[in-house]
Amino acid sequence: MSDRQRHGFVLLLVAGLLAASVLVIATQTTLLGLDLKGGVQLVYQAKPTPQSAVNQTSLNRAVDIMRQRVDQLGVSQPEIQTSGGNQISVGLPDVTNVARAESEVGTTARLYFYDWEANALAPNGKPVADQLTAQDPSAVTISQGQAGGGGPGLPGGGGVPIYQAVKLASQQPTVPNNHSQRLSRSGPLYYAFGAPGSTACATVAKANKTTPIQGQHCLVAGGNPSDTSVQALTQDLPAGISISQVQTLAVPQGTVVLQAANPSANDTIKPTSPTAQFYVLKDNYSLSGSDITNPQASTDQSGSPDVTFGFNSFGAKQFQQVTAAIAHRGSVASPLGAANQQNQHFAIALDTGLVSVPSIDFKTYPDGITGGGGADITGGFTSQTASDLANLLRLGALPINLVRISESQVSATLGAQALHQGLIAGAAGLVVVALFLLLYYRVLGLIATSALIVYALYFYALIKLIPITLTLPGIAGLILTIGVAADANIVIFERVKEEIRAGRSIRAGIATGYKKGLTAIIDANVVTIMTAFILFVLATAEVQGFAFTLGIGTIVSLFTAVLATQAILMTMGDSRTIARPSALGAGAKKRQWHFDFMGASKYFFSLSGVILLIGALAVGGRGLNLGIDFTSGTRITASLVKPATASQVSSVVQAAGAVTPQVQKVDNKALGHDVFQISAKKLGPTGVPKVRSALQNRFGLVHPLDSSSVGPTFGKTIAHSAVVAIIASLLVISAYVALRFDWKFAVPVLIALMHDLLITAGVYALLGREVTVDTVAALLTILGYSLYDTIIVFDRVRENIPRMPRAAFSQIVNRSMSEVLTRSIATTSCTLLPIIALLLFGGSTLRDFAFALLIGVASGAYSSIFIASPVLTHWKEREATYRHRRDRIVTDHGFVAPYASAGADIEPAGSRAARRAGRLTEPEAETVSAAEFEQMKRDIADEEREPTRRTSTLTKRLSHTADSDDDDGAPAAKRPSGRTKGRTPPAAPGATAPRAKPPPPPAPSRPEPADDNVKGDPEGDRGAYNPAPDEAENEGMAPIQRPARPSKSRSRNRRHGRRR
């Protein structure tokens, strides 16, 4: 396939994909994340149960069950996924009844059936059944209920306040795992109690809006599956209460404390209520929820709601055996002639509470109840709760315990506002980048802009097709990839311009430019993709959206920015539009960098040092303002119906349990007139419903609350995953750079990255900006993006090393920097432009994100040039090869000039063979441009006319042998003696350069070799001949002082040797 055919095919492919993209965009819907359309996001941490450990299988099973529960709620497009190996994230868009959704989705719903009398413990700690024959009053009350009071298992039926119940339970022996008892829980369960009349009790009563009972201990925290240690219990303590202020009790494995069943549907008692009663049971269940089948919400004979169900074969058999045992015990406890028939009972418990305790009539069922006919659970149900319980039982219990560690709720209004702001920022970013490209690259800019539009359409179509749930951080990633896509074009265009300026034809320049630019682009983009991948794997769900769009966007941008633009340009190669180099911006070089970057590095190092010093002091003195993502707490945005002041809102929120909340009135017309932002670092996810109801009752809410609540566990998880992601990114990046370049290139990269991250951290500390999870995502992006510039510079250094076999490393780096500085400035500008658009138009979330990116990208561009490269130079110059070169140059010239002389940058013949293997791009064919060829011919002609003059480039290359390598520091000795006139005699082969005694400084009459090509020509015969500079390689160096030449062609660009 010829080039023309290939490019035609690519163009056809681009057009075809474009048409397909438009079709997809027109027909498919966009999935919006919760932050863009409103909803609830819940994050649960999994805890093991006796039956199941926390592993991927149990997590997946839990996710399946939760998804079915969510479906029962009628929520469309829920997002339920596992993350971090022990967490489950649940996204529920458009949920109206948040409280019900929260209680339904994460409820463990573990159903157990207990033989009541055999397991219930009397206050003396003995089973009730053992004491019935002796007619122990307490045992009889628990078994038969209180006359005129509550029945068995109900409040008033022998239950006790929670402190007494837990105290009794804590005195029971621990039952080992291998015991015959069937345990519902493994490990101890901790409780924290406040002493009667204590501050702790007052605080809890205030938060729960209850009145503490005189002389009674109160439950401060505990009883959750997560409270398996005192440390975990400490985290659950309300704000302002320390562990030293409470009494902790541990209920050992083998004993459970269950709350009494609700007396009726209209009389439900919360576990935190001081009037709640509890029973203590031996944890030895007879049946579990997994033994029942087909639970249904129904009504009993009296018309009250109940739940009916059947049993599986094991359950049926077990049920009959247990009920037979219960019936037998009932008959024993009720001897003939006794006044009262003392039926025994069967308790049904759901999670930590009793549902009902039905009796087994031993006269009707002397041999127990066959399970074939099923059974029903009655008592305390409304139609809704019966239906919910039936659903929960039908879907099965979660195989693991779940503890809610984070909750965030976004109102639909705020979501729509965020989407609007994100789209504006994206459009603005695209427009400014397009303008920049058009102004700077003209025709090339037009092509790049077209490619950007194509990229945007492809990407949007992919978002719809995959489908990717578009979130706010995802939009940020999308906008950032606009800059990345433009960067790829800039890298290539600058290369194309170089080639055309070097004398290649437009067509050849484009082809060569793309080939040479591709290596750097692939290296840079691979690093970005790797960083995105690490982010996706390790980060939290919020950041994953950003990472995914960044990764996909980078891959798509490679296609549009490289393949598509190349096909367009090559197809246009013969057209008049780009017939002149000026149309591509490749006319006369307007800006030529000639700056001693390495010489000035001391000053730039010092500048960075001062910035970091200030940053370190700021971190020490002020610290980082860590947001609730890390410290835990709650941030709420509330739009109130009734007018209120900040202090009024604060007092209401405090009464609901928030400690020292920060309340601020915000201006957001989309939400309403009285909009308040409330931050409370001591308010956990469980406190949000209380605040919600308090605000609703006192002021009324225009929209559902916009809240984000993070528990301590989740905060630690985020911080941990961020640290792991940063370390993993650094390792992967280092490995890649070491593989693609040299391991010594990887160390400066790491130092530069550290510089960027710490400067960003210092700026955050100095300005007191809040560090959120988005900031971490931005920092990780900086890791990837900061490398982009560094790789561009290092790629050129790598390319120049074999081309400059006699130059000092500082000269190689100086030249490389001068060649790529324009490109670096352009790419950085192109990335910063959309980031600035994000900063200006992106709304509060994207603004935080953009600020970190702004600092990081700017710092990254700076460090690539002024930190990474000097470190590389200092380090490489310690190598024997470069030390010898430096010594030789000092011997020859008296000092090392910033830029190498013309003779130092001739590519040795063997360099191509010695090039590193494993380049991703195909090695370029041996070609010379027209100017090179003409120059070589002229050189030969000159030599024929004046044999004593310098050897032509071509002759040099032909005569170059392996032993001419100057690594031994003695190439000057091979030169004709007449060419060493006026120079320090060359060192003998193998001689050590006199480092301790530097050579005398050059004579004042000696021209200053600011540009060795012109002024510092060591040949010393400039008057007779001044070699044309290698425009392509020296581009950006000192102004070239071309001598007057009779022939116009003599003054044209010329190259010393062929370029790779």
Binding site: K602, G609, L612, A616, L617, V619, G620, G623, E877
Partner: protein, 94 residues
Amino acid sequence: MGMLAWVMMGLALWHFAIWLPDRYWGGIVGAFLGALIGAALFGFIVNGLHIPGRADTHLTTALEAIPGALIGMALVYFEGVRRERTGESHAVRL
């Protein structure tokens, strides 16, 4: 947070190492490691083998890293000088 302040201070001071002749053991990268390890180690020792948390970090926490960073870089520098001299004396013997 204390560790962050120490590392930042170490990195900041390392930037000024470039003003000295490159005689560090391991060059500029050796100086980098010396500064960072010195700063972190010194801060750790001064604080009784404890890293100050967010609430315990003060301005002095950052300043505590200065002697460590300087000592670290000085050690690396003098080790470099010593090795250089050893290398020279070997060369003379040859």
